[in-house]
Symmetry: C2
């Protein structure tokens, strides 16, 4: 393990529960948060976890409000996520979607399972009654003992739209991501509605009162970047007294999953662990990060970041549930390293 | 067969398609309309069938607009209705409902199947976009070659509510019907919103231009009665030049299905084929009916109605798909008798 300087903060967990706040997108953020929660439970650490989730991917489909990232986090933490695809429900069926298609509705490129549709129907029923998304999310979450508080980044609708570089128009992010597979270059991402949006209740407080703020290996542009785009959230991350540690979603010049490279290119950032860290920036230079985890293949970035004043560390970053010879899964090791970089030493 | 006087009108089918307009509720109206359509097809009769359907049972469930009678008619004519229960879809599953219940939503006494929910999602999506119910119904109907035009009685929401006789309050009709099984006597039925409602586009014209108007054996109070309660529809039935013939939903003092007796009691009408005919009234005495079919067990009503100036006929009224020795099903015989009473003789 290659390590640069460590952070200056050391958090103890004796006087109050360990408060960890995460900013997350979908699969990467969900799996990281699950790993964190499970590790803290196994170590007997009293913790309050809050995950602030990107809602820029949300969209209306056949009158139902679909929140891809919130649902991925919800299902993952609830233990009902489809284990292979990482999103949607396990044991899923497509009877409702088939009917909708037969009626000439639905999006041909966006398939919703029956169990998943129930979530959207329930959420939409609440939204139509005037319940804010944050409260609706709390009610949906209450079904399971998640052990994590889920917060949408905002109660207002903020949708990421994509201006296509070929001049053919603007599409919703999900259409670009799912239908076009991000193969048509994006000229620009637009957060429609962001100027009128504010952080959902609890978001700013969860950042201000955190002992640790973590950026899981989510897409730095259209997931974490979208969360940070809500007026007030970036400043809250910048000014929190908690150390802020991120996990690189880029390994050896390519995203672990998804098409973050296409997003980074759009915003003029190289697809590398180093460039993404510099995109977030060191807090010592008015950026966001105190610490950054990179994969072993990106170990040379550690020294470069140290020169920027940013504590970095290299270790295997591919999250997985496989348990190694030491009894720890790769995800455990990443979570432990992130906490360690934030100055938190766990018992056990 | 006992027959009183016949109607004065005789319709030929040579100059234009035979135009038949029906006012219907759920199962009884749906099965009768299907029998009529199938018979006319088999006899090679060029016909335009329009069924004006009760929407007083419609309700919002978890943000979805559910239209029980429209859907029963739709599914029955499409050939996808659950054959035993007479409503809902065949080969149905309950995955979405189970999820909604797990989220603490849904009505415990009102279960919606997955295929059925797709219809509600599709309809609600259109309604939320401002599409009127009549147009949404046309789009849903377009999926199948129904051979019948489905019209809701009104594009406005008109919901039948039930004032309970025990003073315990007022409930939606579906709650009284499905949850309470109409076991708590109703003091009064209220058509909420009816004063601001108007007939859906096409309804008045379908009545004015009809060659025959038929009242299938639907509930005379909360199905046909609700349709007739929309301002303008009762008058259109009364003033159409077409003969108006009804089929008694009461056989030997009891409803064929459902709990029409409870509804009739509420409006002060005896549960008998004769009393229901007199409730509709003879057109010769400013009522609605030219003809009325009763079951053989109610044959004595024929003479009594003749004295009222109403052409009646007695025959077996239990609709069924069983084909008798003469190759005709019971439904065929009822349909033929209704048309015959309206002066229509079919070829073949």
């Amino acid at each position: 393990m290659t390590t640069s300087n460590t952070t200056t903060t050391t958090t103890t967990t004796t006087d109050h529960p360990l408060r960890v706040t995460l900013l997350a997108g979908g699969v990467g953020g969900a799996r990281f948060t699950r790993g964190l929660r499970d590790l803290l439970v196994r170590r007997g650490v009293d913790a309050e976890l809050t995950v602030v989730v990107n809602t820029g991917d949300d969209l209306w489909v056949d009158g139902l409000r679909v929140c891809p990232d919130l649902d991925t986090v919800l299902y993952t933490l609830a233990g009902v996520v489809h284990p292979d695809q990482g999103w949607g429900r396990q044991d899923e069926t497509l009877r409702v979607s088939a009917e909708l298609h037969a009626y000439g509705l639905g999006l041909p490129w966006f398939t919703l399972g029956d169990l998943d549709i129930a979530t959207h129907v329930a959420r939409t029923a609440m939204l139509r009654e005037g319940v804010p998304l944050s409260a609706a999310t709390a009610r949906l979450s209450a079904r399971w003992p998640l052990g994590v508080r889920l917060l949408p980044m905002s109660d207002q609708e903020v949708e990421t739209h994509v201006e296509l570089a070929d001049g053919s128009g603007t599409v919703h992010f999900e259409e670009w991501w799912v239908r076009l597979r991000a193969a048509v270059p994006a000229r620009r991402f637009v957060q429609v509605g962001v100027e009128d949006a504010s952080p959902a209740p609890g978001v700013l407080d969860a950042l201000a009162s955190a002992d640790v703020v973590l950026l899981p290996p989510s897409n730095p542009v259209v997931s974490v970047g979208t969360v940070l785009g809500v007026p007030g959230i970036r400043e809250a991350v910048r000014t929190t007294s908690a150390p802020v540690v991120g996990v690189s979603p880029i390994l050896g010049g390519a995203p672990v999953r998804g098409m973050a490279d296409a997003c980074l290119t759009t915003v003029g950032v190289e697809t590398s662990a180093l460039a993404v860290a510099r995109h977030y920036g060191s807090r010592r230079a008015s950026g966001l990060l105190d610490g950054w985890l990179v994969d072993d293949v990106d170990a040379p970035a550690v020294a470069a970041l140290a020169a920027d004043g940013l504590a970095a560390r290299a270790l295997p970053l591919l999250m997985g549930d496989d348990v190694g010879d030491d009894g720890r899964s790769a995800t455990d090791a990443i979570v432990l390293a992130a906490l360690d970089l934030a100055g938190v030493r766990l018992p056990g």
